[in-house]
Subunit: 272 residues, 4 copies
């Protein structure tokens, strides 16, 4: 993570007025100021230690004390440009330290969203295909205090237990998005975190299913009916015993097949 | 539709240079130029002749001949501000005429998207609730030639015939969005156009369903399995004989419950 | 707010199994469960006491104790269907009470987003036109404790002081979105809350500007350059002395005209 | 592009009913049916012959004759999974041929959208940074007839000539998105196509600008004022003489800094 040519460029600016560095008399601190919606190529670290290419959308902010007029926006991009490490929660924490040093700040945060792929094998035919997940890595520091949060969006099937029980045949089911946010205190791979959601679902998804697979997932979902409440609770049951996770949020949005709105549940918990 | 105070304001501008009216030498016509993403309150005309309040998002454009440097953007908003008629395809055509006159143009178009509600009665319990639909009205004129197009986005349930046939129990189903675009040559109400989609679905949707209704829709969908191809074909069968529709497009996007992508079909047809 | 015919329909359900009411043994509370992305017509109360029609997108949730298996999703929609009062923070609080009673819950929340229009008069020509704002009303209750929050998204112009000071002519400027979230302890109209943002901007926006107006807003913005930090601080200065606001968040996103990303600032404060 | 293990999996399906292959009696052809919103890693071919990693969002469709009940959705994903070539318009055309063969179809299309990055050097300081562009590659075949279309979305600055001319100082400017769609009959790199838009703008964008750069781009934009009409016409002037482009569309959306809506222009042309 070095880019002297980038940092040197600041000298060039020396002869122009530096408006941002002037004093501010309004006596109002700004908790977060910086850049957002910055797209930048990233490599995500997968479970096997290998990395995969993705595209990150970054938000990078620092806290600004009352007496400082403005932050230096270009330095956020400099820090991003100078970085070349594969991203996981730990390396994002290091990038945050670099950013805080560069911005002369004691508190700040970086959030990056990206798409992550896993190669999955269909349950009967064994054909392989990719499935895409949303991933959000977040690192923040308030002076010495540091938080690393890893969030995954996992698309699954949910099948309604009520519909199944009251109907002579069939049961309404739909795609759901389970979102697990984990405040980390140990290494938890993206695949492990995704697995919590897939195990709690009526059925997990695959990109490619042949007919025997389709029969399997149809019957599997029917055999594992879940309310939106069950989805988040079953994830929470698994996270409750997970020592690498300090705290968690679990949400599920069910894009109801019988309505034009969603059913939604959200819970949070903290491990001792 | 009159707003003399608005139009008079042009005189005020007379002393400032009118850059847009200068000549252009690049010899390039612009087929569409104007404003887009303009939000404005509208009233939509429902089937019963009554109107309902909604919020339209407008795109308004004219064709610009090669020799004219620029259009007068503010006049589009003036035309919109001066309008107070309830919207349907016919009145949108009148608004288009007003706009073309005001912009000194012979060709142009207005497209407006809005949300439309219908009060529906649940199939067993009889409870009433609203369901929301997307509506797009489009009027365009190329000199004397005029097209009025009315499009509805209708959320429905689709249930997979393959999944049903190969599975011992259950069948995957999901929310689908059926979109019907109709080039009109007669009055076709929004409700009539929506009905084409709802009749072609595995089951229609309601905002509010009690348990006996949920049993009904679950079993009804199981009894009416449809591929995405069936959805668009069954709508087309109905539109094929519809004298008020000169031409049509029918699409369906099925937000698959067993994948993280959609199945999609699209067809077009023209009546003699 | 009464709809006996809707509520009566529950009796009809009596003969089918009520899966949601069964006991749950996982010992996990769910802080929020309900419906989201529900579109429903609303009337918003404007500053003049009059109401305007809009379309709300609702999220309605209750807290579910560990021992209850599921909430009754259809009741949220019943409550919405039974409501016919114009919405402001106060009446949303009443709707929340009705919802909690209907769902047998002691804690819960309703959030509704809608578009709000104000008729504005252009600064020189005096022509009138509508401008659209995003509004979010939020009411939540945790047993006896209640919070009402009113949020407005206000589009404005921002002009960069640094660009102006270092350039021989011109200054980059762009559309910005200022978002003010106010926890209310008194009546604060939407218009008053919007005014805080418009006064803090380099210039406010209008839907319709004639040439003399365009000259005015161009020069006005040049005369009032603001960093993204200035925007949020100047709003905070005004809110700091506002007795009707218990606490506030202020954010501004500047869609930079010289970059393909945004500058962004966010602060929060609490009045004594 | 081979994946025998994937294709072999079809044999496994042989014992289950193949509902999609049954005959259809509605006599309605479907012009497009397949999958959409499929995310898949891709490599885009850059100007230097090197490739860069991105994430594609695919739509893959075939035309279905009236007598066939349904297409085989899983085969689209198989074709995508079996592909490993870097993508440009030419290789997408080859992927289309593979898809049509696999689906037993004579007509069909593939569209893929992705983000493309270029490393750019700031105009004064010389600091380097990435800028992101939207890219859409589209290949379609109707029996023997083939079309390859390459589209780029290029963010730029536009500065209003009217505002500049009528104001004593300053000029409103904003981010604009110029979209160029090119039907190719020769190799046109993404960088060449992007350059058409950047040259036509009031000023191009960079991810990272130091103060001397900011001065440069501010003054450059002021010296190159352009209406939305100028943006699309100046791109068209350049494309008019471009032998590798059979036909083109050019659009620009200006996210006006003085309004809450966009100015928009669109034109199309065909080279002899």
């Amino acid at each position: 993570m070095n880019a002297p040519d980038v940092f040197l460029a600041n000298e060039v600016s020396g002869t122009l007025p530096d408006v941002q560095s002037r004093a501010d008399r309004r006596e109002i601190a700004i908790q977060k100021v910086g850049v957002r919606d910055v797209r930048h190529p990233v490599r995500l670290r997968g479970s096997d230690g290998q990395t995969q290419h993705s595209i990150g959308t970054f938000q990078m902010t620092v806290a600004l004390p009352p007496e400082v007029k403005g932050t230096h926006m270009s330095r956020f991009i400099e820090v991003l440009e100078a970085s070349d490490e594969a991203l996981d929660a730990t390396t994002l924490g290091k990038l945050l330290d670099t950013m805080l040093a560069r911005l002369d700040a004691t508190s700040g945060a970086i959030t990056v969203q990206a798409t992550y792929f896993r190669r999955k094998v269909a349950p009967v035919s064994g054909v392989a295909s990719l499935l895409d997940y949303g991933v959000t890595l977040h690192a923040e520091r308030d002076h010495a205090q540091r938080v690393l949060r890893q969030t995954v969006d996992v698309p699954v099937t949910s099948l309604c237990p009520c519909s199944r029980d009251i109907s002579d045949y069939g049961a309404h089911n739909q795609r759901s998005m389970i979102t697990i946010g984990a405040e980390l205190r140990g290494d938890l791979t993206l695949d492990e975190q995704i697995a919590f959601a897939e195990h709690a679902a009526s059925c997990q998804l695959w990109g490619l299913l042949k007919r025997p697979d389709e029969k399997y997932v149809t019957e599997y979902a029917y055999d594992h009916p879940k309310f939106v409440e069950d989805l988040v609770r079953d994830v929470a049951v698994a996270l409750r015993g997970e020592s690498r996770v300090a705290a968690y949020t679990v949400a599920s949005e069910n894009f109801e097949s019988i309505h034009n709105h969603s059913a939604w549940a959200w819970l949070e918990g903290r491990n001792p």
